[in-house]
């Protein structure tokens, strides 16, 4: 469980996130939406302990974030940034990096670490990619490997900053299906998304930010009905009922 109370994050004279108060419950897909510069990535980085807060509180399992060491935070929260360096290492080795927070004396990865890596690769369906060099993988395949790394990190919460950006539609759907599956297994999946329709379709909870403030927080149905997404994002969204549930589209 993550609780955010009156949280402010930013830089001297430039507050990015202003007085945010939220509660993020396990087993849900939470989408953070908002225009560019509204503080979405800042919120993720603050929860991951990467950006310091200027005031307010972030509670992890009812304990203030600052009570935890960086390694302890990394055992509770995994964070996948939007852009990253792609080293020329195997996908398996990349997933193994997720075990770093658990690395203890004599500083060698043990059998449990390697077992966790294999399990994580299999959970995202990427066993066949394990030996491939990371730069040779497509964007969608890489995103699977990063997700496997987060799973190897064995955390309750996974934060993903724009996980579907630059992916083709098939890959986007595959990643979102994985995200939904992991939430059903009990993980808290918090995603920054730009595709509003995708967020409405896949999220259990949506947080809408504008100018660093939380404008709305609720279920997709609530936000669709009160037109808050349309008000903030300045786009019109429609939907049709299908046998698979509501499907959203831009008007």
């Amino acid at each position: 469980m993550i609780q955010i109370k009156n949280l402010c994050v930013g830089y001297p004279g430039w507050p990015v996130l202003k007085h945010a108060t939220l509660e993020l419950t396990p087993g849900k897909v939470v989408a953070i939406l908002g225009p560019n510069g509204s503080g979405k990535s800042t919120m993720l980085k603050a929860i991951a302990g990467i950006l310091p807060k200027t005031s307010g509180d972030i509670l992890l399992d009812a304990q203030p974030l600052e009570r935890f060491s960086p390694r302890e935070i990394a055992k509770k929260v995994a964070y996948l940034p939007q852009s990253r360096v792609v080293p020329n290492i195997s996908a398996r080795r990349m997933v193994l990096h997720g075990r770093f927070p658990y690395l203890a004396y004599p500083r060698h990865y043990g059998k449990r670490d390697w077992d966790m890596v294999e399990t994580a690769l299999s959970r995202v369906g990427a066993e066949d990619l394990a030996e491939r060099a990371l730069p040779t993988l497509s964007g969608g395949q890489r995103q699977k490997i990063y997700l496997a790394m987060a799973l190897a990190q064995d955390t309750q919460t996974i934060l993903m900053d724009e996980p579907t950006t630059y992916l083709d539609m098939n890959c986007q759907l595959e990643v979102m299906a994985l995200v939904s599956h992991l939430a059903k297994e009990g993980k808290t999946m918090i995603l920054v998304l730009h595709d509003l329709c995708m967020a409405l379709q896949h999220a259990d909870q949506i947080i809408l930010l504008q100018d660093g403030k939380v404008m709305y927080c609720g279920t997709p149905e609530e936000l669709y009905q009160n037109h808050s997404i349309e008000d903030v994002m300045k786009v019109r969204i429609g939907r049709i009922s299908t046998t698979l549930g509501w499907r959203y589209f831009y008007l």
């Binding site: 991951a48 960086p70 935070i73 360096v85 020329n88 195997s90 080795r93 990096h97 770093f100 060099a133």
Partner: protein, 341 residues
């Protein structure tokens, strides 16, 4: 070529890495033996071995113990130090263009060595310590400037080039006013291993041994830093502190090397790039193979510098650039054809 097709680490990669290490050990050993054997006066291998075991003629003993052995150790130590320093700097800064001579580390160390040789020449340990302080100061200044100016990869390189020029001007100024401060000015500027003695190598040897062990023990941390600061932090690594610690290690390595061979460039850029193609980008195999590769490269270049126009010698730095430059360009063209290697 099989060797370039398996740059990815995978099953059997451990075997492949071991093959690479064994090949480099054999190459370095052969180059070392050749370095002791060939020169202005050739000494047969069996005589060299005999001298090393405490026998042999007095003249041969003097040539080997007073001239060739210190020179060989100088090449092995400086090659190891510069190459591993390059691996660390490139990893920590996530910048494949970075190298000790490019981001101002060597020049900072060089200025400190020039000042130290001028004002406290009698203190043996002072020179490697001054080299470390100069290298660290150079690194921190470049980091500070590039962070203030935007911290992009190009800014860092440009800040390094600017600081290197300033430090080099400082070295020139010191040596203009005190021309006898450094024994062999051109050797120091171009890089060379003339006039070395075991006593001069000793402090650098301990610094290089210690910092190399520290670097190898921090290879997991270096792997994480290569993913970028945010990724490293999200995996529980205090990225800022670790970056500074590793840069201090790289500065100590480069500083110790400068105290031996002067401002020798290129090794810290060339060797890590070659080794990356052979063993991939994982830090532990990369550090180990670069250490061996750097030692082998400098030993071979020194041998060529002595034999090419024997009994005259070319400065080591010139031979290194003439041999390494074309090879590096060939690698770049090869990379263009096969970008993921």
């Amino acid at each position: 070529m099989k060797i370039f097709q398996k740059s990815c680490m995978g099953p059997g990669s451990k075997k492949y890495f071991l093959e690479t290490v064994v090949s480099l050990v054999v190459l370095t050993s052969a180059a070392s033996l050749a370095s002791l054997t060939f020169g202005a006066v050739d000494i047969p291998i069996q005589e060299v071995i005999s001298v090393l075991f405490g026998h042999g003629e007095e003249l041969q003993r003097q040539i080997i113990f007073l001239a060739r052995l210190p020179r060989l150790f100088g090449c092995l130590l400086a090659g190891t130090a510069l190459a591993t320093s390059g691996v660390i700097i490139q990893g920590v800064l996530s910048n494949p263009l970075a190298a000790p001579n490019i981001i101002g580390v060597n020049a900072g160390a060089g200025l400190a060595v020039a000042l130290c040789s001028t004002f406290v020449p009698a203190l043996g340990l002072a020179i490697p310590l001054a080299a470390f302080c100069g290298a660290m100061l150079g690194t921190l200044l470049v980091l500070l400037i590039s962070e203030r100016a935007g911290a992009s990869r190009i800014t860092l390189i440009l800040a390094g080039v600017a600081m290197s020029s300033i430090f080099s001007a400082g070295i020139d100024a010191v040596l203009t006013f005190f021309p006898d401060a450094l024994n062999g000015y051109s050797d120091f500027r171009i890089g060379g291993v003339k006039n070395l003695s075991m006593s001069r190598l000793a402090p650098a040897f301990w610094i290089i041994l210690f910092t190399l062990l520290v670097a190898l023990s921090l290879s997991n941390e270096l792997d994480l830093l290569m993913l970028g600061g945010e990724s490293a932090q999200s995996l529980g690594l205090p990225a800022k502190q670790m970056r500074l610690l590793l840069l201090a290690v790289a500065a100590a390595l480069a500083g110790a090397a400068v105290s031996i061979v002067g401002l020798l460039g290129f090794v810290g850029l060339l060797v890590p790039h070659i080794m990356r193609r052979l063993v991939g980008e994982e830090s532990f195999p990369l550090l180990l193979s670069s250490a061996l590769g750097g030692a082998a490269l400098l030993t071979i270049c020194d041998l060529v510098s002595r034999l090419l126009f024997a009994p005259f010698e070319l400065p080591l730095g010139i031979v290194l650039s003439l041999m390494g430059g074309p090879f590096f360009l060939w690698l770049l063209f090869r990379q263009k054809r096969r970008p993921h290697l």
